[in-house]
């Protein structure tokens, strides 16, 4: 197994609030290897976005981040701002859910793309301009030359997302962090964007960390899947293992409550609600909603451990919940 490109160890992220600290990420371990597509799935409050934002130091000053995040061996937590800036848009690209807030509405697409290039590569403006067209080609933007002169608000959601991807790819990064990249898009546009990502990935051996709540997206694009709940990873493994041979009750609960295109079988809701992150129970965070809960679940923190085909954070695994 090659050296991991990105490694998160025991990551904790806390947000102080007047009513107590919110422990949004509670001891996360995660690795991404070169060329690997890692899916991070979870519902709201699971901590999936928060954890990846820590990689590039994108939290506000109020956040308390501890643990270790290394990229190619270099520690990022506590790294000087200049180093993080160098990485952002350089070796690590990032795309977000809403391109409208990430793109500067006052600058043309061409201008923003060129800037992304110039900031990191110090070339001539002309070279940057040409590179901009190449980038738009890379993301299959129709009429790339014309698009250079467009402003973000003149483009559709799908086109804006392509621009975002182009900007993130401007400096040939090793890793792309995609935070809900298709959530705000129509399904046919989503298919186009996922297609673009898949193509870029194989052309450039790009590693992608994709954060999403959509298990269908992950099923289509990911090599490994991390399922998060209440600030922790509760199950992890190769994509087929997680979908067909999972061990954690939350994973099975999640899959069982999804309506599917190819069948009309009954939905089995999980019941209850995710716990408040400022008032977590002792032991497993899923205990209040779990069908298989025992006293062991309430006594102590549960760590991820290999069980069967996947790693899962459940004291009672194997439960053989991976029924397909």
């Amino acid at each position: 197994m090659s050296e991991p490109l990105l490694e998160l160890s025991d990551l904790h992220v806390k947000f102080p609030t007047p009513s107590g600290a919110i422990h949004a990420v509670r001891g996360l371990d995660l690795t991404v290897h070169a060329g690997e597509v890692v899916g991070i799935v979870g519902e709201s409050g699971s901590g999936k976005s928060v954890s990846m934002l820590s990689v590039l130091g994108l939290h506000g000053p109020a956040a308390e981040v501890s643990g270790s995040v290394t990229f190619r061996g270099r520690e990022l937590i506590g790294a000087p701002a200049s180093e993080l800036r160098h990485l952002r848009g350089g070796r690590i690209g990032m795309i977000f859910q809403d391109p409208m807030t990430s793109l500067n509405p006052a600058l043309t697409v061409g201008r923003q793309l060129s800037e992304a290039v110039i900031v990191h590569q110090k070339g001539s403006k002309r070279a940057a301009g040409e590179r901009a067209i190449d980038l738009l080609d890379m993301v299959s933007m129709p009429n790339p030359t014309a698009r250079l002169r467009s402003y973000p608000h003149e483009l559709s959601g799908g086109m804006r997302q392509r621009v975002m991807i182009a900007m993130a790819m401007a400096n040939d990064p090793d890793l792309l962090i995609a935070d809900e990249p298709t959530t705000a898009l129509d399904v046919t546009t989503q298919a186009q964007i996922l297609d673009v990502l898949g193509r870029i990935r194989s052309e450039r051996n790009l590693a992608i960390a994709i954060i999403t709540h959509d298990l269908g997206v992950v099923a289509g694009i990911a090599d490994t899947v991390n399922v998060m709940y209440a600030g922790r990873i509760v199950e992890r493994g190769a994509v087929e293992d997680v979908f067909y041979r999972h061990e954690h009750p939350y994973t099975s609960g999640l899959l069982a409550c999804l309506p599917r295109l190819d069948s009309r079988s009954e939905l089995l809701p999980i019941g209850g609600a995710p716990p408040a992150l400022d008032a977590l129970p002792l032991g497993c965070a899923f205990q209040d909603r779990c069908r298989h809960v025992t006293s062991a679940c309430t006594e102590a923190d549960v760590q991820l451990a290999p069980v069967g085909a996947t790693e899962s954070a459940c004291v009672n695994a194997p439960i053989a919940v991976g029924v397909r």
């Binding site: 919110i22 901590g47 928060v50 939290h59 506000g60 408040a276």
Partner: protein, 287 residues
């Protein structure tokens, strides 16, 4: 970053009383303190003021001393007393103006926003005409036409001020009208009048409240300005503008104008603070 807001908490705990929370903020506390002070003065001054407001003590143009803490004016009247009594004229006048303006302006604005059509056009064009004038000029013109006296001042200021609230409310009504809970009310079968009353207007009150609070200081200033120009309160009424007018004619007796000036300043500042803190308080994050 929206990351911190990812948390889904079902908090059914009762929220702490907003007034208590508000008092923690220095701006609000100062504003309330000054307001409380002046209200106290208005109500109680006649019991403890050292002299009467019209009492001529024969000690003319005295600079501040032991028996007249803020000195006396050309007729020997105690400046401190007159300034304190002045609150009884300046503040209630402003309150009347604001109260009536908000009422009239809001009614017209709500009507314009809800009904649209020619009603809207008539009301909006009228407000445009009024707003085209510099407020003090228009107020002067109306006050001059009506004659002196505080009652006419109130009328003049209402004429000048109502369009602001008409516009404010119209804008509010129009924006609220398109919200989903209004569509829901329509689909439920709620009659139009009730929609306006229960679903639109209650949500429009917050900006009005904030605006009215901040306007209060402006109205006090405008009232004083009219009196200063001889178009508002009539001497010997110790309205602050009148006092400043007297002070301006005795420029070297700086204490005569200073006291009412500071009084006006304190009121304007207090209401600005209050308005600002109200605005912060009612921000969506306070939900």
């Amino acid at each position: 970053m929206t990351a911190a807001l990812e948390v889904v908490t079902v908090s059914l705990a009762p929220t702490r009383h907003p007034f208590a929370r508000a008092l923690r903020r220095p701006q609000f506390a100062i504003g309330m303190a000054v307001l409380a002070f002046w209200i106290l003065v208005i109500v109680t001054v006649s019991w403890w003021a050292p002299y009467g407001p019209l009492e001529e003590t024969g000690a003319r143009l005295q600079s501040p001393n032991g028996s007249h803490w803020l000195g006396t004016d050309t007729l020997g009247r105690d400046v401190l007393t007159r300034t304190l009594y002045g609150a009884r004229y300046s503040l209630p006048t402003a309150a009347a103006v604001i109260g009536l303006t908000v009422l009239i302006g809001s009614l017209l604005g709500a009507l314009a926003g809800f009904r649209g059509g020619w009603i809207d056009t008539v009301i909006m064009r009228s407000s445009d005409v009024v707003l085209a004038f510099p407020p003090i000029l228009l107020a002067m013109a109306v006050a001059a036409a009506l004659g002196p006296g505080l009652r006419n001042t109130v009328l003049a200021l209402i004429v000048v001020w109502w369009p602001i609230y008409a516009r404010l409310l119209r804008g509010q009504v129009i924006s609220i009208r398109h919200r989903e809970h209004i569509e829901a009310a329509v689909s439920v079968g709620v009659p139009k009048r009730r929609i306006l009353r229960r679903h639109i207007l209650p949500l429009a009150t917050t900006p009005v409240l904030i605006n009215a609070t901040m306007d209060f200081g402006q109205v006090v200033l405008l009232t004083a300005s009219l009196s200063f120009l001889g178009l508002g309160a009539v001497p010997p009424t110790p309205e602050w503008g009148v006092l400043i007018d007297e002070g301006s004619r005795n420029f070297y007796q700086w204490w005569i104008a200073l006291a009412p000036g500071v009084a006006i300043l304190s009121v304007v500042l207090a209401f600005n603070f209050l308005g600002d803190s109200l605005r912060d308080l009612f921000d969506p994050r306070g939900r």
